[in-house]
Structure formats: C-alpha cells, structure tokens
C-alpha cells in the first residue's frame, strides 16, 4: 500500500534574497549609508525604477527631440510660447540626455550591480556546498509522497539516489536513512547572467557613444568622396575620437537608381519609394585595387573605417549661369535638399561677380506644377523636372561666418523684381534658359543628375552590445525555463517493509513538483506491491 499526498496550492516561497529589514535604532552616518544601499539594492526599488524608466522614456516619443529633428523642436517651442521654454528647461526635448532620465537608469544599474554581486557570491557558495539537511518532517513540505517498498534500507536508499541522479539532481546524504538533493542551479545562474549581461549592454552603448562617430555627405553622380574630415557636410565625433585619423579610402558614385510606385493609385502608395541602389567604385584605404560596390538601403558598405549607409537621395540639377557678356560664371551640378516624400527640394545657387554677387534660391521639383498651393511636385521621379527660383543681388560672400550651401541668407540683399514691381519668379523646365532683366545675364537648366545621401558611421561598441544582449536573452530563457528544486528522501522501517517518504520544494510557482516526486517514486517501485 502506497500513499501520495497532494501538493498545496502555493509552495512556500524560498527566502527572498537580501530582504533583511534594516535595523531600527541609531543609524549614524555609516548606518545611514548602509541603510540607503540596502534600500537601493532591494528588488522593490528595482521594480519602481524599472517602471520609472518606462514612464520616463515616453515623453521622448511624444515631444520632438532636438537630437533627432532640431527644426521641428524649434518650431514646437515657438508654437507653444508658455509651455515650450519650460518643457525645454526640464529637458523634455532631450529626454534621453536629461538629468532625470540619466538618474533613473544610473540608479537602476547601481542597484543592479549591488544586487547581482551578493547573489553571485551566494550561488558560488551553494555550488560548492552540499544540498541542505533533510528536514525532520517531510510532510510539511509543499509536496510529499510516501511509498512502501520491499528491500533493505540501504538498497532502497541507493535506488532513490540512482533515481534522483538520473533526473540530474545533485545528491548528498547527511545522515543514515536520508538523502538531500537539489537541481536547477542553472536557473539562478541564468538569472544572474541575464542581469550581468544588461550591464554589458550599457557598457557597449556607452563605449559606442565615446568612441563612435558619424558623418553625412551628399555625393552627386560622377563625383568622388575622399574620406577626410573636410569632405563631410556634417561630422559628429564622440568625445574620445580623433577625427584626423580617418581611413583614407575613396568612393565614387557611378550611378544612383531610384524607383517609385507608379502603378498603384491609392493614397499612401502612389509615389512611394520602391528601390534605391547606389552603384559605386570603392578604393580601399589599404591600397588594394578599386572594386565596384552596390550600396542599398538595407545593404551598407563596410569600408574598414566606418560603414557607409545609403540614407537618402535627391536631385542635383546642373545649372549654368552666364553674365551679361555671355561668359559662363557658374556651371555645376547643384544638390537640392529633399523636403517631402514627393521630392520637393530646396537649394541655392550662389554666383560671385566682380560688381555684385547673384543669388538664386528656391525649389527643385522632379515633376513640377504650379497651382494655388504654389510650386510643388506631384511625383518623386523626374518626369517633368522644373526649377522655381527667386533672385537676389548684393554681396553674398562677405561674412566670414560659414554658410549653408543649400540656403541663401537674404539679409542685406536686394530681390530682383519684374516690370510690375512684384518679386521676380523664375520657372525653368529642363533645357530652358531664362534671361535676367537689365542685361544681368542668363540662367540655364542644362541637365539633371541624382545624388546619394551617405551616412558614414563607426560604432566600436556594437559588438559588445550585441553579444551582451544575446547572452542576456539566453540567461533569461534559462532563468524562466529551468526549475530549481530540492528533494529530500527518508527511509524508515515499517515492520517488514520500508517506508520511503519523499518531500519536494520548488522555487516560485512549481506545479510540476508533484509530478516530479511521483516520477521518483515510480522509479523506486516500478511495480507497486499493493
């Protein structure tokens, strides 16, 4: 006759790590420090900080962020004269660099280190120690089974030992007639790996910030980019980067291919981008021969000194300006910056003259129309390209301050007007020439090229970040899947037979522990003598 009891609904939770209540009286400075440390490294604090981290991240998605879109941020602040400056002061436009957000994650990670180190020590200690002694009353454990079997006590115990070993338990006997067994140390190890690897992620992110850099460059078809600081339109190095030490490779843009949706007419689809391919000739820095490389949106080019990403593209109309005598004073493929999905683009043409400079500013439109919304593009491909420009006169190249090549600072310049006194507006289609009034010369829209917008970036921390996050994931899975269990066995005599009592203790919710015990018992007495 054998007996098995049922499990209680909720196994007794094992003692929480580091949960000792702080001692009450007379703390003193050291006491206070110790108290604060214990508070900071408690799981409850970690929980609150995690929720705060989630909450703190949200404003970064609802308010425009300066680091992502400075223009939109400035406009938002302008549109909200009361709230804007206040929110700005509180860091709502740079959430992820704000003191309060940093405080949350720094506290969280200090807490994490403070929590993980003692837990690692405990685990290492447990790995070296033997499973704890068999409790006096096994029937007090959340799950227990009793079974009567035949055989000598030693034999029976040996059978139990085998059964437990087969189930990958570590088994130890603290005294005659008893066994203590434990398994699933990997659960705690996995959990620690998960938390430790999170620290690795943070270190990886931080080193990427310190040692990484990025630069953007606009490269019209036919031109060559040499990887030196001066060739970048913008360059943002991390604090510990030496920008003069860039690898001297070159990259020539041979062709920029862009395809757009023209068959599906519905909103949101018509004109959507379909494919961008930049065909380039890449000459590595190490002196190896040039080779053809295709750079696509999901296919960056590894150069050995930064990775080249194709992040944008647009048009660079070739424009020629002649002076009154017909001499060419400007002839260049001039990139216009794309401002909307239909490739309406803005740009400027600045021409230096002996008496006065001429400045053209306005829009390039790949499929241009003018209606009551003004000049605009109705399709992103160059089906009917047009330039819509206004003209200014005066001294453009005076100030020493650096100017954007894509816009014209019109302060101090005079705008040319038509005969009626309205500002002069030039509408040029491909191949057309416009004669400027007053014998000032002419402007011609000769031909059209595309450009590629490359972003070149280096992030030396990314491998550490990736490896850490994968380790973290592995640790998480181990921690959630593996069960930590203790099983105790006691063999006593009941007349001619032996009574084997098996008790089990699981960590957290462990509904399966009863099955486990039943299995151990079944291995002991494959055919119960009932």
């Amino acid at each position: 006759m054998t007996q098995v009891s049922t499990p209680s609904a909720a196994p007794v939770p094992p003692a929480p790590p580091a949960a000792a209540p702080p001692s009450q009286p007379r703390l003193g400075l050291l006491g206070w420090l110790r108290f604060s440390w214990r508070q900071l490294t408690s799981m409850r604090t970690a929980l609150v900080l995690l929720l705060l981290l989630a909450l703190g991240a949200v404003p970064g998605s609802t308010f425009p962020q300066r680091s992502l879109d400075a223009t939109r941020t400035a406009r938002w602040i302008e549109d909200h004269p009361t709230a804007g400056p206040w929110l700005d002061r509180l860091g709502f436009f740079e959430v992820y660099a704000s003191p309060w957000f940093s405080a949350i994650y720094l506290l969280l990670f200090i807490s994490l280190i403070g929590c993980v180190i003692p837990r690692t020590r405990i685990l290492l200690h447990q790995l070296r120690a033997t499973p704890p002694r068999t409790p006096k009353r096994l029937e007090r454990l959340p799950a227990h089974v009793a079974v009567e079997v035949d055989g000598e006590a030693e034999e029976v115990l040996e059978g139990a030992r085998k059964a437990l070993r087969a189930k990958r338990y570590r088994v130890h006997s603290h005294g005659p007639g008893t066994l203590s067994a434990e398994k699933g140390y990997a659960k705690e190890a996995g959990n620690l790996l998960f938390h430790l690897a999170l620290i690795g992620v943070i270190v990886g992110v931080a080193s990427g910030y310190l040692f990484g850099w990025r630069g953007d460059v606009i490269l019209p078809v036919g031109q060559t980019f040499a990887n030196t600081l001066i060739r970048y339109d913008t360059f943002s190095p991390g604090p510990w980067v030496d920008p003069s030490a860039l690898a001297p490779y070159t990259l020539r843009l041979d062709e920029m291919e862009a395809t757009f949706e023209s068959r599906i007419q519905s909103k949101g689809q018509f004109g959507a981008a379909r494919d961008f391919v930049a065909s380039t000739t890449f000459t590595p820095a190490d002196g190896s021969p040039s080779r053809a490389e295709e750079i696509t949106v999901n296919g960056p080019l590894e150069t050995g000194g930064g990775t080249v990403f194709l992040l944008g593209n647009g048009y660079a109309p070739k424009i020629t300006v002649r002076d009154g005598s017909g001499t060419v004073v400007y002839s260049e493929a001039t990139p216009f910056l794309t401002v909307d999905n239909l490739y309406k683009s803005t740009g400027a043409i600045k021409v230096q003259g002996p008496k006065g400079d001429l400045g053209f500013s306005g829009f390039f439109l790949p499929t241009g129309i003018i209606d009551d919304q003004g000049p605009r593009s109705v399709f992103p491909d160059a089906l009917d390209p047009a330039l819509a420009l206004t003209v200014f006169e005066g001294r453009i190249f005076t100030s020493s301050a650096p100017q954007s090549v894509y816009s014209l600072d019109t302060t101090g310049l005079t705008q040319l007007t038509s005969a009626g006194g309205d500002p002069l507006r030039i509408w040029l289609k491909l191949g057309q020439t416009y004669e400027l009034p007053g014998g000032r010369g002419s402007i011609t829209f000769d031909s059209l090229d595309r450009y590629a917008g490359f972003s070149i970036r280096a992030d030396p921390g990314k491998t550490l970040t990736l490896v850490s996050s994968l380790l973290s994931l592995a640790g998480l899975v181990a921690s959630l899947v593996i069960r930590r269990r203790r099983v105790f066995v006691r063999v006593t005599d009941t007349g001619p037979r032996r009574l084997v009592t098996v008790g089990g203790l699981g960590q957290g919710d462990d509904d399966g522990i009863t099955d486990e015990l039943a299995d151990v018992v079944a291995r002991l007495a494959p055919e119960p003598a009932s």
Partner: protein, 338 residues
C-alpha cells in the same frame, strides 16, 4: 507587381473568417450561459479547477488527501473530470464543441487569407498595419486553438474570439492598405524575423492580457455575488498562474524582438538605436513587462499588483500599435537627408 485578384481572394478569406468567428462568439456565449444550473449554483464550481491542479487519480498508486492551504478557490484535487462531467448540460457541451470547431475553421480561413496576401504581393505579408493585424489575429487564434487541445479552455473562447473579431474588423476597414510592394527600408530578412516574432509575442501577450483581466474580475466577483456564468471560469489564482505562464513565453520573444529590431535598424538606418518613437515604445513595453516579472518575483508585492502591471504592459502594446504607428512622427520616410 502585386496581383490584385489574389489580394481580393485574401480579403474574401478574411471576411469569411470574420463570419465564422461571429458564429463562434455566439457559440461560446451560449456555452457560458447554458451552464447556469437549474436550481442553486452548487453543481459546477469544482470542475475547471481540476484542470489546473494535477490530479493523480489515474496512476497505479493510490492516493489519499494531503496537506495544503487550499482556499475556497482551490478545492480538493481528487475530484477529477469524470466526477463533474455529468453535471455539464448537454447544450453547453454542444455549444462549446461548435465554438471550438468554428475557431479551427476561422484559423484555417485566416491562414489562407494571410497566405494569399503574401502570394499576391510576393513577399512576407507583414508590411503594414492591415497585415500586422491579420497575421496577429491568426497567431492568437492558432495559439488558442492548439492550447485548447491540451487543456479545457472552453470558458476562455469568447474572450479570445470576440476581441479577434474586433481587430479583424479594424484591419479590413480603417487599417486597410492595398496590396503593394514595400519601401526600400522594409526590404530585409529582418522584416521577416523581427516582425514575425513581434507579432507572435503580441499574440501571446494578448491572450495573457485576457487572462489577467479575467483573473482580476474573477477575484472581485468572488467576494460579491458573482454572475452564474463565472462559475465556468477557473478561480482567480489559477487564472493568474495561467496568465503568468503565457507572459514568460512572450517576454523572451519580445526581448528577441527588441534585439532583432536593433540589428535591423543598424542595417537600414545606420545606427542600432535611434530613439525613434517606435523604438521607444518597444523599449517601454519591454521595461513594463520586465517590471511585471520582477513584481511577481518580489516578496511583498501582491499578485494583484503584478497583474495590474501586466495589464499596463498590454495597454502600451495597444498604444504602440494603434497610436504610435498612426500619429507619431518617426523615421519612416527615406526621401532625403534631414
């Protein structure tokens, strides 16, 4: 070039699935309603529990009762299914059977719909909100249908099927997007990996959310006079455990989603983390569910509090999907350098 007639058949399959799901909803409703005992309500409060606590009545060894602090919601285990089976009204059983069969039918129809959609656009059918919602609904139905084969989940049916019906309704109307090719940034194997895992994870979180809500409601109603149909639903504590078991599968998947998303962001955008609104919310969701698992493991934090955190996590998912996708300005256009 997308094949429009195939896309039309795909929509037809979705509509048919919706019709079937409507019937399934009715069937599950009848199941819950029919269970109301004729006199008093003592009959049924035992059976569902037996599913949740393993019973040993079948093994060769004999058992007697044991320890345990079984509360009102945790009745003795020995009462196995056969004991209560006769108490199950025939109408209820039939209704649930019909509901389950219809759920399978709807799952198959939806799978056909998703497959046809993918065929019509010649790519993995996870490129826009319509496709996410359809694929996600399929994942929810499939998880439920397979899980229901392993344990008695008939009481859960209506809470799964009705929300799916709602989501499909939105998918085929407000979120509808014509079958089309993708923008260049989405043409990547990482789309397949990242978005598929994300969708499956959301499906699991979704069922977990239904269970979490039910467990709170069940707890609340246990103290007041609960409506009779609630007797079909397991006790609050058992529901909470079921919800947890889904969350611990979904959470690593979501962690993977986050990592895969970062890898893809590096491929397509040049940097693995840009604090793009979509990324922010993926992270927020991750942190909230991490807090949930933490809360559940923290002594002194009640299961109810933890459950509320899980519910907050799913609300974040809903926001991420329905609000962030539509309203927030993010890194979605590739027309030029900004």
């Amino acid at each position: 070039m997308p094949n429009t007639s195939l896309a039309g058949y795909a929509n037809l399959a979705v509509y048919s699935a919706m019709a079937v799901l409507t019937l399934a909803t009715l069937a599950y409703a009848v199941f819950l309603a029919r269970w109301v005992p004729a006199r008093g309500e003592t009959v049924a409060s035992v059976a569902p529990e037996s599913e949740l606590v393993p019973a040993y009545a079948g093994t060769s060894t004999a058992y007697t009762g044991g320890s345990g602090d079984a509360g009102a919601d945790q009745p003795a285990v020995a009462a196995a299914a056969e004991v209560t089976a006769p108490a199950e009204p025939l109408g209820a059983r039939k209704a649930a059977g019909i509901g389950l069969s219809l759920t399978w039918l709807a799952t198959l129809l939806l799978a056909v719909g998703v497959g046809l959609r993918g065929w019509s656009v010649q790519r993995w059918p996870l490129g826009n909100m319509h496709e996410f919602a359809t694929f996600g609904s399929l994942a929810v139905l499939a998880v439920f249908a397979f899980w229901a084969r392993r344990r008695d989940l008939r009481w859960l049916g209506i809470f799964v099927v009705a929300p799916v019906l709602l989501v499909l309704g939105l998918a085929i109307t407000v979120w509808y997007t014509e079958a089309a090719e993708l923008v260049p940034s989405l043409k990547s194997v990482w789309l397949v990996i990242h978005v598929t895992v994300a969708t499956i994870s959301v499906a699991l979180f979704g069922i977990g959310f239904a269970l979490a809500c039910l467990s709170l409601v069940r707890d609340r109603l246990a103290t007041s006079g609960r409506p009779a149909w609630m007797t079909r639903v397991p006790g609050g504590a058992a529901l909470e455990k079921l919800a947890y078991s889904l969350h611990i599968i979904a959470f690593p998947l979501w962690t993977f989603t986050l990592i895969a998303g970062a890898i893809w962001a590096r491929q397509a955008w040049g940097s693995y983390w840009n604090w793009d609104p979509k990324e922010v919310w993926t992270f927020v969701i991750w942190a909230v569910y991490a807090a949930y698992l933490h809360a559940r493991a923290t002594t002194g934090v009640s299961r109810r509090t933890a459950t509320w955190i899980a519910i907050a996590g799913f609300l974040c998912i809903v926001i991420n999907y329905a609000v962030v996708n539509v309203w927030f300005v993010g890194q979605h256009s590739y027309s030029g350098i900004s």
